[in-house]
Amino acid sequence: MAAPTSNEPLSDPTVRDRARFFRQALSRRLPGLGESGVGYVFLLPTFLLFTLFLGFPILYTFYLSFFRFEGVSDETLLWIDLPGFEFQLTRIAELEFVGLQNYTAMFTDTLFLQASFNTLFILLVQVPLMVGLALLFAVALNASFVKFRGVFRTVLALPVSANLVAYSTVFLLLMQESGLVNYLLTSVGLPAIPWLSSSFWSRMTIVGAVTWRWTGYNMIILLAGLQNIPQQLYEAAEIDGASRIEKFRYVTVPQLRPVLLFVFVTSTIGTFKLFSEPVIINSGGAPLDSTITIVQYIYQTAFIDFRLGYASALTYVLIFVVSLLSAAQLRIGGSADA
């Protein structure tokens, strides 16, 4: 508030009261919408950021997907030069309209089809594996007899603190033909596995790396859900003579469904966005096409080949597929017991 100097007009109580009254009155009916205006005021910054950085890109990607990028241009479209404010809008991209060509080209693009296959393969193996493991760990760590639960929880969740690029590199080293993992395998008498050089196993390496990293994170989310299941349900099940597995099947899983669903959807989206792991693990010698993911392919088309239009079309197809899949998951997960 006001500094404690003697001639400060604000230190006069009546002035201060009046100022406060006006401030309150103002905050109540700020944009002339009465009480309800406050909600909009709280939402305003979010709304601005969403339109600028989400709304615009979504629409512009759609627009771009019907064009072919011809090159960079610095033609000025709009130039506002006011004292204290300058804004210049340049054309940036030279575009040529090609209609639906970008979308039809996809179906004959073998690399794109390969990338889709790889992504789906990783998705189908990785997401169930990881969510299953996370669920088992969460249930185990929720059992009251386990000591040092806090320690285990922290240890299991630690991999999320490892840097993406760094841990991919570490997996690249661990999975070498003569790396630590193969050393352990051969020392117990198992055959060494070509983790990085065969198409199948290099995909599995990516699955393993991603699972290693995100299982603990998802476990914590599931654990939070588990702790909110009412204890009476278990007691009731016990009175009915339910076994451990029955309790898991008929109490834990249904009660946890919303959380499980959340984990499934976010993991699916995460897998679709897979980018740095395949980029780095692929440098281990597997055939290039065997691990390339959709996002990696989009990056390559956009920022190495500079086919921005085609990359935009690919992005749109990906967004469409992800949305469809998430909606389907929500639908299945939400309505199974209704």
């Binding site: 309800s36 939402l43 760990f137 993406l164 919303p258 989009i298 956009a302």
Partner: protein
């Protein structure tokens, strides 16, 4: 009854074994990073007899990492180019150059600013959705929820063009602002803030609190653990952002993921440097995790992910 207790014991043993195995498998790569960062490259790359005990080359590795031309991993005192010379007094004019930030500082700086900004925006939006009535509230909320499904980092191309239009290329705001209003954060805050009793807000209003005071004097303090949980999620998200920083940042402004990626050179990969960088990059998140670990579990309440 004895049969029962024996089965119980077996069950407990199995649970312990499972959790322990998981913990060990989880720790192996992390431990290996820590050990490898203290070994010479030739020592940890040779596989005939993997070294499992730390060596003493950590500082040497760190120095070779710092000597890299294309990557500045940890910053160093900068050169103060601008001075104001007032007789006996010298003033450094360009305070930003007191310290030249490396990737480590950049990442921490960006992640902290992003987390703070995003917490503010998400809690404000969550508060609006939880405690106010206004027109189009439901449609707006569901529109925001729908963007959860959108893989936002995929909008790299238009974002890049937009940023160059706004003059934000090679600027940290470019990797902070686009995801500052985080739909997941808004959702979590809204779910949790619904538990704030209306009577509490109403009585504060009677006492003459402004609506904004309701938000920062009542809503925020009661949401501490949720905010902590959200802080971890947001921090990790920004910490791991790779694709867009790779596209938009130039050398000298790299964040950790981009910097480490830069170490994977075309001719020769210096694994010892990568290992040191990897080991160092774990530390800040590890500390954050240690401090906020308790709140992380309690903060993601049941209400958070229900519905």
């Amino acid at each position: 009854m004895r049969e029962e207790t024996r089965r119980e014991a077996v069950w407990q043993f199995l649970t312990y074994a499972f959790v322990l195995l998981g913990a060990v498998v989880t720790m192996v790569p992390l431990y290996w990073i820590a050990v490898a960062s203290t070994l010479k490259e030739s020592e940890f790359l040779s596989s005939t007899s993997p070294r499992l005990l730390p060596g003493d080359s950590f500082l040497a590795n760190f120095e070779s990492l710092q000597a890299r031309q294309n990557v500045q991993f940890v910053g160093h005192p900068g050169e103060m180019t601008q001075y104001i010379d007032l007789g006996p007094f010298y003033f450094a004019y360009d305070f930003w150059h007191l310290w030249d930030m490396g990737a480590m500082e950049s990442s921490i700086f960006v992640a902290v600013v992003y987390t703070a900004l995003s917490l503010l925006l998400c809690s404000m939006a969550g508060f609006a959705f939880a405690k106010y009535e206004f027109r189009f509230k439901k449609p707006i909320f569901y529109a925001i929820l729908a963007t959860l499904i959108l893989p936002i980092q995929l909008l790299v191309i238009p974002l890049f063009l937009l940023m160059s239009q706004l003059g934000l290329t090679n600027n940290y705001w470019a990797i902070i602002l686009p995801w500052a209003a985080n739909p997941l954060g808004i959702f979590l805050m809204r779910q949790n803030m619904r538990s704030i009793p209306d009577a509490l807000l109403e009585s504060a209003r009677m006492d003459g609190a402004t609506e904004f005071q309701l938000y920062y004097k009542i809503a925020l303090p009661t949401m501490k653990s949720s905010l902590a949980a959200l802080a971890i999620i947001l921090f990790l998200f920004q910490w791991n952002l790779f694709l867009f920083p790779l596209v938009i940042l130039d050398q000298g402004k790299y964040t950790i993921p981009v910097a480490i990626n830069q170490l994977v050179g075309a001719q020769r990969v210096y694994y010892d440097q990568i290992m040191v960088a990897a080991a160092l990059s774990v530390i800040p998140v590890f500390l954050l995790f240690l401090f906020l670990q308790k709140q992380f579990v309690s903060g993601i309440l049941a209400g958070a992910v229900k519905e």
